[in-house]
Subunit: 134 residues, 2 copies
């Protein structure tokens, strides 16, 4: 079911500073920041040879990463996003195996304009997993 | 400097159970477990199309992930490993930029028989970064 790792997301308190570190110190190619109001985050993608790192900064009062940064003020690894061919088929199969889907269970449109879902980290060894249909 | 993402590591309290979840529920290909006494972990690699997830279970009394699992008993994302061409050149360049290398600063031999180093998570937005020379 799992395809490519689309990205690994890292929550950061200061997106400009984190972007500069990846670009100037680690020598990676970085995207322009992209504000995703519906997801409550501003994102920058660090483009690596085989996948991407997504740097996430809170956007707005109800950002889903605010609580994460309160617990880990300097930031940290937030989730892994895997590509799937058919997100509804994947969702139904995982739910039948007992995994919980976050929110109302319906895909939202993610940073790449594609449908995404999140799986409960308690069902996957403390790891928040995003599925993206590609 | 950063090349491919070699793997994303996830610490787990029960390697057999986590391996079964990735294989049977998420439908991924998984390796045999590999005990790495020098690193204090037993690892299983989840083989994805473009990179790997490394499942880590503590091995021995002085495992470096025991403290991590005490804080996060169900497990969690532990580190990201990036490939570099020349680990000593990368180390010296990063140290000159103010990043701290863990341990005595000399590479050890990692899970793939290649030299590895870890960078201090406080210098990289709370993310533990491994560099592996390939």
């Amino acid at each position: 079911m799992l395809g490519r790792v689309n990205h690994i997301a890292i929550a950061v308190p200061d997106l400009a500073q984190a972007t500069a570190t990846y670009r100037d110190v680690l020598g990676a190619r970085v995207s322009q920041p992209q504000a995703l109001a519906a997801h409550g985050v501003t994102v920058v993608f660090v483009e690596l040879e085989n996948t991407k790192v997504e740097l996430l900064e809170p956007l707005g009062a109800d950002s889903p990463i605010t609580a994460f940064l309160e617990k880990s003020p300097s930031g940290g690894m937030h989730h892994i996003c895997y590509e799937v061919d058919d997100i509804l088929a994947a969702r139904d199969q995982l739910k039948a195996s007992g995994l919980r889907v976050l929110g109302d269970g319906n895909p939202k449109i993610g940073a790449h304009g594609k449908p995404v879902l999140f799986l409960h980290p308690k069902d996957l060894n403390g790891t928040l997993v995003e599925l993206e249909e590609v």
